[in-house]
């Protein structure tokens, strides 16, 4: 299972390295959203700095939608699904591999956003351990749930409109947890934030477990 996951993750990341879609399209989108928030929320009145935790994670959610759609678009080209079914790859391995690749791309996007938020919103960075732990747990949860719902929507012609309404309500606990943890860290009260990390970790574990079990059956329905 892990060998197959490594193969699939390697393949997905190699495709990204060759095609640069995340780097050339999603990174600019992320920065663009930050700017749009700035335009909408009056940069001079200090809102942006105070709201930066929430704005950061909302932007991550939107970028995650794009990354997930992309991860399954590359599989949809020309008989890809049949090929995966025939391949001999363990479906649980395919799930973990795709989720891992999505997670890596999300981490890169979050790095860009972190720089953007600090530079554009003037956020002061404190409580770094909590910030890092939150990013790790939240990203794992986003990638796991996203891969599960992504494959669900992947074979459908309406997937671009269906995936957001299926996935975003499911991810709202991640948004809540990550935002609260970030606010605690950035507000200097990191001890308040650690319980939220617990929520994120539980969420991530639940979806990793469920996705591993259910992916095989989902791959069959095309």
């Amino acid at each position: 299972m892990f060998r197959d996951a490594g193969l699939v993750a390697g393949k997905d990341l190699r495709i990204e390295l060759r095609s640069h879609v995340t780097m050339q399209q999603v990174f600019p989108f992320a920065v663009l959203v930050l700017i749009l928030f700035g335009i909408a929320l009056d940069p001079d009145r200090g809102f942006l700095g105070r709201a930066s935790a929430g704005l950061f994670w909302v932007t991550v959610l939107f970028c995650a939608l794009l990354a997930i759609q992309r991860a399954f678009t590359i599989e949809s080209a020309d008989g890809g699904r049949d090929a995966l079914r025939l391949s001999g790859l363990d479906p649980a391995g395919i799930f973990l591999g795709k989720a891992a690749a999505i997670a890596v791309q999300l981490l890169a996007i979050e790095a860009v956003l972190a720089v953007g938020v600090v530079v554009m919103y003037g956020t002061e960075v404190t409580g770094v351990p909590l910030l890092v732990a939150t990013i790790a747990a939240a990203t794992a949860g986003l990638a796991a749930a996203g891969t599960l719902y992504g494959v669900l929507a992947a074979g459908l012609r309406v997937r671009e409109t269906l995936l957001p309404i299926l996935l975003l309500p499911v991810l709202s606990p991640v948004l809540i947890g990550a935002t609260e943890a970030f606010e605690a860290a950035l507000g200097g009260a990191a001890t308040d934030g650690w319980p939220w990390l617990g929520l994120l970790v539980v969420f991530a574990l639940l979806y990793l477990a469920f996705g591993t079990l259910a992916f095989g059956t989902l791959l069959e329905e095309s």
Partner: protein, 232 residues
């Protein structure tokens, strides 16, 4: 020895539509069988059924000893077959070598198998590191073929394999098929290139409207080097 393929009254489903209205088919191990028939007769569907990709809605079916009505067995069957279909099943952004390596390793092939597959399909030269998106249709076909060869399947299911290949490509394919059969594989192929395919095949089966018709057609006998053609 157990037949490679055995179908009785098989019906499958494409989405919600039934296909193959009750097919009977026997393929012995080590045979090369050609499927003939007009477009829409169900050749592609039959091949996909034998690959374990489609469900068996009615009737009975055994492929390489796997019972097709049991989904678990049908899934286990897939690693033992190789399907070359209309779709390429390749990742456009990756190179030829990357694709063959990925699909080969997914099926458990090692680096030697991958290299042999690339060489066997004439892809170990200039084309090796070219992204698939930059290849012609015929070259993509060859790449898909290499992905199949790397898996070393026991049952080859070829859906119009000659289409899109140039003369050299077709010779190459025939050669690969022959070598695979010599090594013990079974081949079921559908082709419109009848002259070439009939020379290759041991036996011809005709599909008419989703059922197998009587074979061979009147006036022609079994084709193959050992057989004698019937004189009308």
């Amino acid at each position: 020895m157990e037949p490679a393929v055995q179908l009785r009254g098989a019906v499958t489903l494409l989405g919600r539509f039934p296909a193959l209205a009750g097919i009977d088919l026997d393929v012995a191990a080590g045979e090369i069988v050609l499927l003939r028939g007009p477009n829409g007769a169900g050749k592609t569907t039959l091949l996909r059924l034998c690959a374990g990709l489609l469900p068996l809605a009615r009737g009975e079916g055994r492929v390489l000893g796997h019972d097709l009505s049991d989904r678990r067995q049908a899934r286990a069957l897939r690693t033992r077959v190789g399907l070359l279909g209309h779709a390429t099943g390749l990742y456009d952004e990756l190179t030829v070598a990357d694709n063959v390596r990925f699909w080969g390793r997914a099926a458990g092939a090692d680096a030697a198998d991958v290299a042999a597959a690339l060489a066997g399909c004439g892809l170990d030269g200039r084309l090796r590191d070219v992204p698939v998106a930059a290849l012609s249709a015929g070259q993509r076909r060859r790449t898909s073929l290499a992905c199949l060869v790397a898996r070393r399947p026991e049952l080859w299911l070829l859906d119009e394999p000659h289409a899109g290949l140039d003369h050299d490509g077709r010779e190459l394919l025939d050669d690969l098929v022959q070598r695979a059969v010599d090594a013990g594989a079974t081949v079921l192929l559908a082709s419109h290139d009848l002259e070439r395919a009939e020379a290759l095949a041991h036996r011809v089966v005709t599909l008419a409207g989703g059922t197998t018709g009587a074979e061979p057609p009147p006036g022609r006998g079994r084709v193959g080097p050992e057989e004698v053609a019937l004189v009308p």
